[in-house]
Amino acid sequence: MSDVLAQLAEVVVKGKIKEAKPLSEQALAQGIDAKDIIFNGLSKGMEVVGQKYEKKEYYLPQVLLSAQTMYASLDVVLPKLKVGSMGASGKVVICVVEGDVHDIGKNIVKAMLTGAGMTIFDLGRDVPIKNIIEKAKSEGVDIIATSTLMTPTLAGMKEIERMAKEGNMKPKVKTMIGGGATSKEFATQIGADAWGYDAIEAVKIASELIKNR
């Protein structure tokens, strides 16, 4: 790995947000491919962030700052990315289901999936189920990932399964769920393809789902 990519990974890990843009420009100026910057710089950084979060060396504030740092770099790098070069890594539509506005967990999962090189369509929070299904269809995504922290909104996840089945989207499109109110049993019960305990598990699961498609 080149020095500048190692530095970029370090910048993400340490959350040195102001250094993200100049360093990314420097990497591009050195002729490093945008895809390389993402996979060998930013992804490596986010992977370390994930490990530190798992070991409780990092808590949410540090993870959020690292994610912001990664996004600052992506702002520079993504426009230079060759169309189609990331295609194999999978497309994910992600959001918090209608009725819930707790989106920090969703944002962390989004950052981790972005860090893993996936293309993310983030619909935000409090999103009506039919909008999720429509977006999944129009973008031809591989995964629909939804979260909720609240219990009344669990019904929305069941509705996603129903609409995905009715629309003949399954098994091509996989569904995964997460968030405080969800559980592995609940995922099985409604017919979701996977459940993630936290953002770290979410990345592993999403990668598996895409590998096995």
């Binding site: 808590y59 949410l60 504030p61 540090q62 700052l65 912001q68 920090i104 609240m150 009344p152 049993e185």
Partner: protein, 337 residues
């Protein structure tokens, strides 16, 4: 202590960590379900704004499933609304939510609004407590639910922003916390004066899913202490969601009478760690078993919590409106024997 105690006596004795023949079965977090609403003909969202309906619904769960307290209000958005956040009051089966924040890094107010205690739904809740006190407190303890300072501050500026600023702009975090604390302290005093027996402050944003224990000590503990510095005769309880195993010592250090925690903490372990320094309230899972499990699942979990030595047996977090009645009845029955 005998079986002739009123629920109020029993709950207050349990919070004082007195020896009892059995712990009370309570719900110190959101208590109203559809069955309780139907029993008294009072529904959300009306009950969030009308003090008479609020008081009536607060005691309905006692009638319907025998829980040993009245508890109000039914959300965590009262303070945030007074601080200028836009709140959607929800539906019959959906709790109110903060829809829009009130300020950013540069516009955090120095003080609470003038006449804050007369704004938003604060007068309704204070009056609701007063009515509940008159109508029910011979039998039932009146439990008032409030929001912790970190959660209020998060509502004001956005929780994600607040967490990020802990690293990038700690001064802004402290500024938001100071004004949130001022709001909460005044509100706690008003609720105590109105006759609340117990004030439960929920601070979900101060949990270990959000902060390290060290951050809790800097950004939550001193402010929680300040909010509860003048509770009058009311007992104080701190509720924090998630796995609070490593946080229990820090929660005890806030000086509250009781700690209300979720099922992600092993009950035996919680009793072991807290070791009589505060009353323990909890910690039956609200999703599993209460919402999605069977009465038998609930009975087993309730017995485990009771036998572990919790001072008060309760759901570990706020009830969803559609928690089945049979499960709530099973919880109370298991505790009362």
């Amino acid at each position: 202590m005998s079986n002739n105690m009123t629920p109020r006596d029993r709950v207050l004795a349990a919070l004082a960590r007195k020896k009892l023949d059995r712990p009370p079965a309570v719900c110190f977090t959101q208590i109203a379900t559809i069955d309780a609403m139907e029993a008294v003909g009072v529904y959300w969202p009306d009950a969030h704004v009308d003090p008479h309906r609020m008081a009536e619904l607060s005691a309905a769960p006692n009638k319907v499933w025998g829980v040993e307290c009245a508890r109000l209000p039914f959300c965590l958005t009262v303070e945030a609304e007074v601080m200028g956040c836009r709140v959607d009051l929800g539906k019959m089966d959906r709790t109110p939510m903060v829809k829009a924040h009130s300020c950013d890094e540069n516009t955090i107010p120095d003080d609470i609004p003038i006449g804050a205690l007369y704004k938003g739904r604060i007068p309704a809740v204070v009056e609701g407590v007063r009515i509940a006190k008159q109508k029910y407190s011979k039998e039932l303890p009146i439990v008032a639910g409030t929001t912790g300072p970190l959660t209020i501050a998060g509502h004001m500026v956005g929780t994600e922003n607040l967490l990020l600023w802990i690293i990038t702009n700690p001064e802004a975090v402290h500024k938001a916390l100071k004004v949130a604390t001022k709001m909460e302290k005044a509100y706690v005093e008003a609720l105590a004066k109105a006759g609340a027996d117990v004030i439960v402050m929920s601070d979900p944003s101060a949990g270990t899913d959000m902060l390290s224990p060290e951050m809790f000590d800097e950004y939550a503990k001193p402010y929680i202490k300040e909010c509860f510095s003048n509770p009058g005769d009311a007992k104080t309880v701190l509720h924090i969601c998630g796995d609070t195993t490593v946080l229990l010592d820090h929660m005890v250090a806030t000086g509250v009478s009781g700690l209300s925690i979720e099922e992600k903490v092993q009950p035996e372990k919680a009793v072991d760690i807290v070791n009589g320094r505060a009353a323990l309230v909890g910690n039956i899972g609200v999703v599993r078993p209460l919402l999605q499990g069977t009465p038998e699942d609930v009975r087993l979990d309730a017995l485990r919590v009771k036998n572990s030595g919790f001072n008060l047996v309760a759901p570990g977090c706020g009830l969803a409106a559609r928690v089945p009645l049979v499960n709530l009845q099973a919880m109370v029955k298991a505790v009362k024997g």
